[in-house]
């Protein structure tokens, strides 16, 4: 029987672009893998075509398409297709010792910056204005630059975004340029938030291209499906929302694979190892969501304060080249099907070593007998197991009682038992866990701000929760089903009045 309301999940990885079709009961009804192309879009179309062909007669019932893509990441890394941004900071005379874009790689600054300035405005930690917003200085600055977009960052705007919103209104009315506001992009930490806001503004063009390409691909295949984009915390945004927040799509891959692993295995507390062609990403699931990294995240040489999954990547994958003295870090990548010994090629890869040890990829006949099980192979498997055990130990933080969920196309490499994990779980469809993760994701919203700790605290926290929920709905969540999934309060020291830093995250299933 054909279920109605199918969903397509697509995830663009470094080596492959994976796609799945899920039915209304979240069962995988079709899956496909195609090589990722340099322009990304072509590989995406190929994967979409392949998975729709496999879904066959059911394809027209696709109602939603969720895409996790590397368009934005590549644009920043390769400094291509980036818009020119007028960078405006509100805070003078404070903060001028480190002007905007300080510390950016020169070529990225060259590609992105249409001009930068610090004008009067912004707030103190206690909510007072540093100074009134200097509208004339803003006009003088914008009159002198040729920009595609404006990035606005006010000091302490996560606690009070008023000045940033005033600037957005002014720019929209008088200059008609798109504006990126820092309090909608990042959390506390001025320079990191400002960096993310500038990148966000520079990516508006890329976002428009992705949305256009995806929409055209769906229309061209006669699909009346609603498109969504995956973001780096493992949740989704409508394409309208993504067009305003493209920077949040950077790094969505690992989050998708972790969420997919949780869903496919039914395990909410686990270590996840996603073994690809070149590398293995390890992450940790806490309550079914990725454990987040506390460290600042660098994108294309620029520090940002995104809440990314805590990922440990090791240079071990199915295509890793095996030599006398070790494994990798180089890999034959997508050429594995030509170059590996088991496929008749001439390069000893990790896949060959694994097969020789009896760890055979699904779908491949056991070719153990065809391979010499020599010292080289044995040493490579031992080395790989050691690398995995070491990485698991680093990620487990002393807990050995959780299972390890093995996903990704290279999951067969992993040993049947891994020190530091209670057992190894290999769910069905593990090789496309990332695409499944994109397809089953929720929509979310976050608020990160500083609030007074006194009597007004509980009211203020309620407001922060409402704001997070409103942001989740703006990202596409069903208002009736949004829940607060994370609330962290950290007391602050050395302030005039006791204050707390509050982080709230709301998430919910997509609205019908």
């Amino acid at each position: 029987m054909i279920e109605e309301a199918l969903r397509v999940g697509i995830d663009v990885g470094g080596t492959n672009t994976d796609a799945v079709v899920l039915d209304a009961a979240d069962r995988v009804v079709a899956k496909a893998k195609r090589p990722t192309t340099p322009d990304v879009t072509e590989g995406l179309r190929a994967a979409l075509d392949a998975v729709l062909a496999e879904a066959g007669a059911a394809a027209p019932d696709v109602r939603r398409v969720m895409l996790g893509t590397t368009h934005a990441t590549n644009a920043v890394l390769e400094r291509r297709n980036l818009g020119r941004v007028a960078v405006l900071r509100l805070g003078a005379p404070a903060t001028t010792s480190v002007p905007p874009l300080c510390g950016w790689p020169a070529d990225l600054r060259e590609a992105v910056c249409a001009g930068q300035t610090v004008v009067a405005g912004g707030h103190y930690v206690d909510g007072r204005e540093i100074g009134p917003l200097d509208r004339d200085a803003i006009r003088r600055f914008l009159d002198g630059v040729a920009a595609d977009a404006v990035a606005v960052t006010g000091v302490f705007s996560p606690a009070d975004g008023g000045h940033e919103r005033e600037v957005a209104e002014l720019v929209g009315r008088e200059y008609g340029l798109p504006v990126s506001l820092s309090h909608e992009v990042g959390s506390l930490g001025l320079l990191e938030r400002e960096n993310a806001t500038v990148l966000n503004a520079a990516l508006y063009g890329v976002a428009a291209h992705v949305v256009e390409a995806l929409t055209a691909a769906l229309a061209g295949r006669g699909l009346a499906a609603r498109p969504y984009l995956a973001q780096n915390d493992g949740t989704l945004m409508t394409v309208e929302h993504a067009a305003r927040l493209p920077v949040a799509t950077i790094g969505s891959g690992p989050a998708n694979s972790l969420r997919g692993a949780a869903f496919l295995s039914g395990v909410a507390e686990a270590i996840v190892a996603d073994v690809g062609g070149t590398s293995t990403d390890l992450g940790v699931l806490v309550g079914g969501f990725p454990r987040e990294s506390a460290a600042a995240v660098e994108i294309g040489g620029v520090l940002t304060n995104f809440r990314m999954p805590d990922i440990l990547a090791i240079a071990l994958g199915g295509g890793s080249v095996v030599r006398e003295h070790g494994v990798g870090p180089d890999s034959v990548g997508y050429r594995i099907t030509e170059e590996a010994l088991v496929f008749g090629g001439g390069t000893v890869t990790m896949t060959d070593a694994a097969v020789a040890a009896g760890r055979v990829p699904p779908g491949l006949a056991d070719r153990r007998e065809a391979l010499r099980r020599d010292d080289l192979m044995r040493a490579a498997v031992a080395r790989a197991d050691e690398m995995v055990a070491d990485a698991v130990d680093r990620m487990a933080l002393g807990r050995g009682d959780r299972p390890l969920v093995a996903v990704g196309g290279g999951a067969f490499l992993l040993a049947p038992r891994i020190p530091g994990a209670s057992r190894v779980v290999r769910p069905d469809h593990a090789e496309v866990a990332n695409a499944v993760g994109a397809a089953i994701a929720l929509a979310s919203g976050r608020v990160d701000t500083i609030l007074p700790a006194g009597e007004s605290r509980s009211k203020a926290i309620e407001r922060a929760k409402e704001e997070a929920a409103a942001r989740a709905v703006a990202a596409g969540a069903d208002a009736a089903q949004v829940e607060i999934v994370d609330l962290v309060e950290v007391p602050l020291s050395y302030l005039s009045e006791p204050a707390v830093r509050v982080h709230v995250k709301a998430a919910g299933p997509l609205a019908r």
Binding site: A94, T95, P99, V125, S493, Y494, R501
Partner: protein, 328 residues
């Protein structure tokens, strides 16, 4: 720390390189201005210094002393206050003194060499981002801390501060000398191919243990992070176990119930591979670390130095024994 480094690089580009001068190269009446940022750490991630604060403090010093300062000094070489003075010196067009008030990092304001040397804490000058300048003439160090903290809070929990403004003549024996050039040497050493060995050699440090961090226990009390960290040996150190007592800094290292190093000697946890220091708040289970210890400046080993920043000043009932003897 990153913000300080960015400000320093920017200021050098804008105002030119900062010469490093030794205390002995200064005339006896040369005026030294020790500078440090004061405020809440969370605030300093969001509120960054302007460019005018150092100049306003210099002008106030000129008003008080009848002449402008001659040289900038870092109050505390460890942490953000070690790098930012490069920016402040560049902005003032002054040289930076190859010395500081700690030779390391300490959590409390009285834990500076000027205090140990008996210099009076009778003048504090503060400048905030708004342009306010406040001069405090406290009766002692306790009032100095209390009043400076109150001003800082009123200024938005972020300000630049000069205390213990002094002449080179009075500074003799009251500073930890050579610490800026030592910091530079440490940085250069760790850029090479064998960073850990280079760091150890540069510091003349003893390697207490190399292994894996297996436990970190932390609690926040009185504004400070206290706790313990356990490192279990690997490789040549397999079977050994070292425990560190933490209080914002690493204060005491214990193995098999025996103290191996204690404050005010320096104990540092570094990444075994990169030799990059790991601050106490960043310690995490599973990190591959090496613990180094090396002697503090002789000033901290005087009776007054130990009274100020010895093990008992941090609540440990231990008689100080130099690290050289403990690790013989």
């Amino acid at each position: 720390m990153r913000t300080g480094a960015l400000a320093a690089r920017r200021a050098i580009e804008e105002y030119g390189a900062v010469p490093l001068v030794r205390p002995r190269d200064l005339a006896a009446d040369a005026l030294i201005v020790p500078l440090s940022g004061i405020g809440a750490p969370t605030v300093s991630h969001e509120m960054i210094h302007g460019e005018e604060e150092p100049r306003r403090i210099a002008e106030e010093i000129e008003r008080i002393f009848g002449r402008p300062p001659d040289v900038v000094m870092s109050s505390e070489i460890g942490g953000a206050n070690g790098v930012a003075p490069v920016a402040w010196a560049a902005q003032l067009g002054l040289p930076l003194l190859d010395a500081d008030g700690m030779g390391r990092a300490f959590p409390e304001v009285q834990m500076v060499s000027m205090y140990v040397a008996g210099l009076p804490a009778d003048l504090v000058i503060m400048a905030d981002v708004a342009g306010n300048v406040v001069t405090i003439r406290p009766v002692d160090g306790l009032w100095s801390e209390r009043l400076a903290r109150a001003v800082c809070v009123a200024a938005g929990s972020h300000a630049l501060m000069a205390d213990y403004v002094l002449t080179a003549g009075r500074a003799r024996g009251a500073l930890i000398e050579g610490t800026v050039s030592r910091a530079l040497a440490v940085g250069r050493a760790t850029e090479g191919p064998a960073p850990l060995r280079a760091l150890r050699d540069e510091l003349g440090a003893v390697q207490l243990i190399s292994g894996k961090l297996t436990d970190v226990e932390r609690r926040t009390t009185g504004g400070f992070v206290r706790g313990t960290a356990t490192i279990e040996g690997t490789g040549d150190d397999r079977g050994r176990r070292l425990t560190l007592e933490l209080q914002n800094e690493n204060l005491v290292a214990v193995e098999d119930g025996r103290v191996r190093a204690m404050v005010p000697d320096l104990i540092t946890v570094v990444d075994t591979e990169t030799a990059a220091a790991i601050q106490t708040e960043a310690l995490r289970y599973g990190q591959r670390v090496t613990v180094l210890a090396w002697p503090c400046d002789p000033l901290w080993r005087t009776p007054e130095g130990l009274r100020t920043a010895g093990p008992r000043a941090f609540g440990y009932d231990l008689d100080y024994v130099p690290v050289e003897e403990l690790t013989k």
